[in-house]
Subunit: 105 residues, 2 copies
Amino acid sequence: MKIKCCQRKEFDKKLFDLNEFLKAVSDENRLRILCILKSGPRCVCDIWENLELSQNLVSHHLKALKDFGLLKSERSGSNIIYSINDNNIDKYLKSLNIFLKKYDN
Amino acid sequence: MKIKCCQRKEFDKKLFDLNEFLKAVSDENRLRILCILKSGPRCVCDIWENLELSQNLVSHHLKALKDFGLLKSERSGSNIIYSINDNNIDKYLKSLNIFLKKYDN
DNA sequence: TTAATATATCAATGAAAATTGATATAACTA
DNA sequence: TAGTTATATCAATTTTCATTGATATATTAA
């Protein structure tokens, strides 16, 4: 018995993207980083000092989140200020909601 | 500078649970399984034949999703029929939405 | 009660990704 | 310019977890 939802061509791409988003955020440290940045833009040092993580580790997670478009950054003097990219987060949240909610296909 | 969101005691548990949910679903095969089951309850064989995955691999993913409460199962003759546990999925979706949306704390 | 089918479990392997340590770069400050 | 601070990068290690192969269990059918 062939089931509909897995037959569509465009489904693969959609599902791949959704999974990339889930992989990007399914990590406690990244969730904490997102939580901190929800309170407003912060420099890297504010983040790693609050989370009690090493500087390079936080830098690595920030890069991953930024590369995926969930964060933005800008230089301010010697600091790099990171902030949430709300538009993209909303986009992926919406996509996930549609995907997991009942009877959307 | 101490940032509010990471100081709360109950936050740890909430964030841990949320992350467990994200880890449970951040896998292409599991997303495909969820998609198939959204179309209705299915036995294990329907799933692995559709996804062209090995039987034991599908069984393993089904177990993970069920252990986490995202799926239910019941025996029907020699088959085990899996289905979505909508309540739990909605619960976690809601939690994730609140967590990631702007200014919820 | 034997064979066949459906599903689950378990140990071993492999791959992806987090973490660490060391170092590089860039911007301030004295 | 030299020293200091903030951040990024890179290679090595470790951890986590999906996948595989083999086998066990449970149900049905002959």
